[in-house]
């Protein structure tokens, strides 16, 4: 059948929760009714990345990029564009008034991106193995099984310089060598898809958009290290990713790309999925393995490292989703090609989930060495509502904040570490002038305190104490000595905690202290929160000179604490005020003062 047009509809979790599924069904119905079924192919794809403007519908070969599509727009796109050849102008993405009908490759959001991990996301139908195969899928496996020895594969990985994308950045080839060189009857391969950082969704999107890339890479690893069984540990909160992965595993088994005697090579390998219950600590590799074994997800001291003694005491290679997804490309294009991309110490690309106060929230992939400024201002389109950039948080609860003066730092493992943050799995949360750094630190610490497994005391007790101090400071009850106390406990936790969770939990506090100690002091000494987000330290008052007595604020006040006669200045009863800020937002005359 010869299709003349292709309609790609994003069906990642973000767009799907905005009804992209309904859009798909309605378009399918319209296309059938209009007799276009043999001419137009509708494809459900993975994430396009520009999640801010989803649901996204892309029409090829016209290269029309529709954003913010609603179910009722489906009929119009079919009727006007697909039938009559007239793109629906008001739905086409434009980043500036003057730039209408821009080509997709020229959209600033995509210009600085380079896609290796996300190569198939938004391009193929993840539920159809044939489309993966068409894009050179399982070709790397072919090459590995029939043209390469395990040592060749490891050599290629070594040349590529690929480092673990889960956060720590350990060279991938080393893990593989350890496991390969251990004598053992049974070995395992594990994919860590337990993505838990707030605001991070790289792994979920990769699996949703291209599940076969994980299967292919794990099989290659099994062949390399001599394992015959793989497990994907993924959290149960990712139903769509799980469904797509299950489907992909089934299809691969049916075709014999998993199972016994793969492609007649004599090599056996199979993969099973293990669901996590959503405990953050299970992203730590030893806790993850304990959870797969059916035990409570708690970390254990290393060494021995899982590469030597992992799942059920057997040698186990455990890599993150993004690491896996890079591997087929490295084998096909060569380690040298991969090593050309990136910086001296960090090769290849990195996927980031860009969120927070940035215009283009979304999923992006850039070469290592791209600067934070390029990511936030060129790709991200700058700060929302024209506000001022304050800091960016990388590495989630294990990372730290990076302030404006370091925006031109090229992103790589070492640079971020020098700045007191970490690469982490790839969450980037952008903060503006309205964000209070102590509040941010408190938010992350609350998360890690909640997620601490409680096994070791530095993490269990230290986290709780630090949280208590931060809480006092945000309520205006802090003392100057608290700053030193925070640093002391933080350093102790870093040194004495058992696993990565506890060792990194103080990072958000220590890094905000490093760059924004003046804000801590302001909270403590002046009892003031300049960003205006610490409720206890903010007071709303009405300037009688500016207030015309329209009564709008009184009407919008949820606790009726604003009173006054019509056309006369109003007043706020501080004893009742809950500091919701409604009055400040609705006043058209700038009469409500926040301070």
């Amino acid at each position: 059948m010869a299709y003349r047009s292709f309609v790609l509809i994003c069906s990642g979790t973000g767009c799907e929760s905005n009804k992209s599924g309904v859009i798909f069904d309605r378009m399918a119905k319209q296309i059938t009714e209009k007799g276009l079924l043999s001419e137009i192919q509708l494809v459900k794809t993975g994430c396009f990345g520009l999640c801010e403007r989803g649901p996204i519908v892309k029409v090829l070969p016209d290269e029309t990029f529709y954003v913010d599509v609603k179910p009722e727009d489906a009929d119009k796109i079919v009727e006007e564009h697909l039938l009559k050849g007239r793109p629906v102008k008001n739905l086409v993405y434009q980043y500036e008034e003057s730039q209408k009908n821009i080509k997709i490759e020229n959209i600033p959001f995509y210009q600085k991106q380079f896609r290796i991990v996300l190569r198939n996301c938004g391009v193929i139908d993840p539920e159809n193995i044939n489309e993966y195969i068409a894009r050179d899928g399982y070709k790397a496996l072919e090459k590995a099984l029939f043209e390469m020895t395990p040592d060749d594969i490891i050599e290629e990985l070594k040349i590529s310089g690929l480092r673990g994308r889960g956060g720590a950045g350990f060279p991938t080839w080393r893990k593989w060598v350890f496991t390969k060189d251990v004598q053992s009857d049974v070995k395992y391969v594990v994919c860590n898809a337990d993505e838990g950082d707030p605001g991070a969704y790289m792994d979920r999107s990769t699996i949703e958009g291209d599940p076969h890339s994980i299967i292919e890479a794990m099989t290659i690893c099994g062949y390399t290290v001599g394992a015959h069984q793989g497990y994907v540990y993924i959290r149960a909160e990712y139903p769509l990713a799980i469904r797509r992965l299950e489907m992909a595993i089934r299809q691969a088994r049916e075709m014999g790309l998993l199972g016994k005697d793969i492609l007649g090579s004599g090599f056996d390998f199979d993969i099973e999925i293990r669901l996590g219950a959503g405990a953050f600590v299970c992203g730590e590799e030893t806790a993850l393995l304990a959870s797969i074994e059916g035990n409570r997800g708690m970390p254990r001291p290393r060494p021995p490292f899982p590469a030597i003694s992992g799942l059920w005491g057997k040698p186990t290679v455990i890599n993150n989703v993004e690491t896996w997804a890079s591997i087929p490309v490295i084998l096909l294009k060569g380690g040298k090609w991969f090593a050309q991309i990136g910086t001296e110490t960090s090769k290849g690309t990195k996927v980031f989930a860009l969120t927070g106060k940035v215009n283009n929230s979304g999923l992006i992939e850039v070469p290592m060495g791209t600067t934070l400024r390029e990511v936030i201002f060129d790709i991200g389109g700058g700060i929302k509502n024209g506000k001022k950039f304050k800091a960016v948080q990388s590495g989630g609860p294990s990372g730290g904040v990076i302030p404006a003066e370091y925006l031109d730092t090229p992103i790589d493992y070492e640079n971020l570490q020098k700045l007191g943050s970490i690469m982490g799995s790839g969450g980037l949360i952008v903060m503006d002038e309205d964000d209070c750094m102590i509040d941010i630190a408190k938010f992350y610490l609350e998360f890690t305190v909640d997620e601490s497994c409680g096994k070791c005391s530095p993490c269990r007790i230290g986290g709780k104490q630090m949280y208590g101090i931060l809480d006092r400071i945000t309520k205006g009850k802090g003392e100057l000595a608290d700053i030193d106390k925070l640093k002391q406990i933080g350093r102790a936790m870093q040194k004495a905690s058992l696993c990565g969770l506890g060792q990194t939990a103080p990072n958000p506090v220590l890094s905000t202290l490093r760059y924004f100690e003046h804000e801590y002091r302001q909270h403590i000494l002046e009892k003031k929160c300049a960003a205006g987000s610490c409720k206890e330290l903010v007071f709303y008052t009405i300037n009688p000179q500016k207030c015309i007595g329209c009564g709008l604020c009184a009407m919008k006040c949820p606790v009726n604490c604003i009173s006054g006669e019509k056309r006369k200045p109003h007043t706020i009863d501080q004893s009742k005020c809950i500091k919701c800020g409604n009055c400040y937002t609705v006043c058209k005359f700038g009469a409500v003062i926040k301070g």
Binding site: P61, K84, G85, A134, E254, L257, L263
Partner: protein
Amino acid sequence: MAKITLEELRRLREQTKADIEKREVEGKETLVIVGMGTCGIAAGARETLKAFVETIEKLGLKDVVVKQTGCMGYCYVEPTVEVVMPDMPRTIYGKVDADVARKIVEDHIVHKKLVSEHVMDKPAADIMK
């Protein structure tokens, strides 16, 4: 689906590759644009478009993109088609039915020869025969 052999996997990849490449626009230099306004559709532009797509597939031309556009203004000679490619003048053809479409693919795109009797927008005289 039965288990496949290495050869079958390779064959499957070649087959499916052609399908998926049609979605890609990058690097393709030849453009066939079919006018699909109400007048064009009424005059049979859908059939024309189909003929283009099918002929291009039949001849295995990978460098060609078929797009549609609205009315080009030559409503008296619909369906109208514009062909843009390297080494050839931008040409607008009129009264292009399925047969003419096939001829355009074979003559204009493959052999770089204008289908003179259907040319609407005349390029420079020295190119015309």
